[in-house]
Symmetry: C2
Subunit: 325 residues, 2 copies
């Protein structure tokens, strides 16, 4: 049995169940063979509902980026104006880093339908199934000292939060430093990797993963309580081109403002969107555990945490978790 | 003619001139062939004095690292305790970076007899002739926020300056941020490359080049006014193993102090060794040119510069040059 024959049959009955019996008869194959081919189609990004009684129903075909569509929607001067689109990469971060070393200009964007080993913070893996989300890396070449690089992480979170909230009207908040949450569940990941020579920042690779059209079933069960997608939260599929175009515009505008006026406007916006302030938390830092209440974002990008004894300390890098009661 | 025969002849007459005529007769080769082989020996690190009238005299054979000697001299706990020695590399920075990505521990040291494309600051080349200097990179994994990475550049300069001054009794000073000078001429280069993930420093590769036993003739003529070596300045050859061992000890001690007590002790030491303070200068920064007088080292590693109007500004990254009068 060729997979395309099975697919033809499902497409011909789009929106309806096709019984295993019928497929078996039409294509002259065993039920087990059908089941195997269905799994292969799912791996390719087809969504298929399976019912023991009713058979199989094609829900959606894999989404594919259209560069024409994306270019038409882009309203930026530099961000996303040079796009490198891949069907499959190990990690868009690695590709962008290579391009940056070769001299690619600021705003160069790397997107992939699928990442085989997408990277998250702290060396964790980032799940990037085919066609279901925005898996991207942008090259930035800001003329700021390396001290200020962490400010770009917060700037990126603000831009992404504002663009997604505008596009979906969903209540999206920022958990320090840069997780976006809907009802406490994560919808995106941001990872800025910077390379510096003494105090001079050479370039920054901003990696962003946005869970756009993933279904609950795309996540392993043990993750479902902690993660969501724009589709799950809104009940609607979104155009990934529209998501990227909205994000690039917001990001470039905020970046331009930042270069002209400094970090202060970003702090104001970040604090307004934050869901981390004024709630007790436990922060796990490389230097140890800190229990306290985050009260403000510092100039440097660190978070100011008020301890039980009333003292306020700056925390530069940590995992923020629930307070221990 | 094999090169080894020529070398045997020169070694047999060490410290004396061997005439071209004699070589020509003994080895039965032309004067032009001799001259070519002499050049090849020089490329390999042999120092040979040539006199049109007297012939050739072997001055020195190439210095080779002895790991046994180096290990015996090392007095550190971690710095230099794992050594990767290469005859020839493109750049010790690249090798160390690869090792760091593979998980090599803090203190891992990469040294090479020769670098083919040693890197300096601002993408410049660094000359690293075979056996004549210390061309090295050390992996550091400090648990400090990325904001503080530039402090390590200054710490490294202080440690190198103190160890070389102790070893040679030469008057060595630090030009901000990290050039070591003897009588205004550069004897070493320091380049710290750091890799960060958001505000978390992943690792730092500290590249250090020390001009130990280079002769004036090893430098292109146009460089001779700006550079020197410990040998040129002191009139003596130094053991590179002794240089490395002294540097590693001073560096590890200062790094340990820094991790315990912060940057303040480093600032004190740096200011005491500095030749940049309280003298007018022109600083060329990525943001533009600043004319003023450096007055102090800031907590962040930046230099505080007093402008003509009396205001003081912080400069994070710049080339420091002569004032324009």
């Amino acid at each position: 049995m060729t997979m395309s024959k099975l697919l033809e049959l499902l497409v011909a009955h789009s929106g309806q169940y096709v019984s295993g019996e019928m497929i078996s008869r039409e294509l002259n194959v065993s039920r087990t063979a059908i089941w195997k081919q269905i799994h292969k189609l799912e791996d390719q990004g087809y969504e298929i509902e399976a019912s023991r009684r009713l058979g199989y129903k094609l829900i959606s075909v894999p989404d594919k980026y259209s560069l024409d569509d994306l270019n038409e929607q882009l309203q930026t001067a530099a961000f996303g104006r040079s796009i490198h689109l891949f069907e499959q990469v190990d990690s868009t971060q690695n590709v962008a880093q290579k391009l940056a070393e070769e001299g690619a200009p600021e705003g160069t964007l790397v997107i992939a339908e699928q990442q085989l080993s997408g990277r998250g913070r702290m060396g964790r893996a980032w799940m990037s199934p085919k066609g279901k989300g925005v898996w991207m890396s942008l090259i930035m070449r800001p003329t700021i000292p390396v001290h200020f690089a962490p400010q770009l992480t917060l700037l990126t979170a603000v831009a992404l939060c504002r663009s997604l909230a505008r596009l979906t009207s969903l209540p999206i908040g920022i958990k320090w430093p840069n997780d976006l949450l809907i009802d406490g569940k994560k919808i995106s990941g941001i990872l800025l990797e910077s390379t510096a020579e003494d105090a001079r920042l050479r370039y920054v690779i901003a990696g962003v993963g946005i869970s756009v059209n993933l279904a609950s079933s795309d996540y392993p069960e043990e993750m479902q309580e902690r993660v969501t997608s724009l589709r799950i939260a809104s009940g609607e599929r979104l155009s990934r081109e529209a998501v990227i175009a909205a994000f690039m515009l917001e990001w470039e505008q905020l970046y331009t403002l930042y270069q002209a006026e400094g970090f202060a406007p970003v702090v104001t916006l970040w604090e307004a969107l934050s869901v981390s302030l004024n709630k007790p938390a436990r922060l796990t830092t490389p230097q140890g555990i800190i229990d306290g209440t985050p009260v403000a974002l510092d100039e440097s990008g660190a978070i100011a945490v008020r301890l039980e004894d009333g003292n306020v300390v700056l925390v530069f890098s940590a995992e923020m978790g629930e307070p221990v009661t």
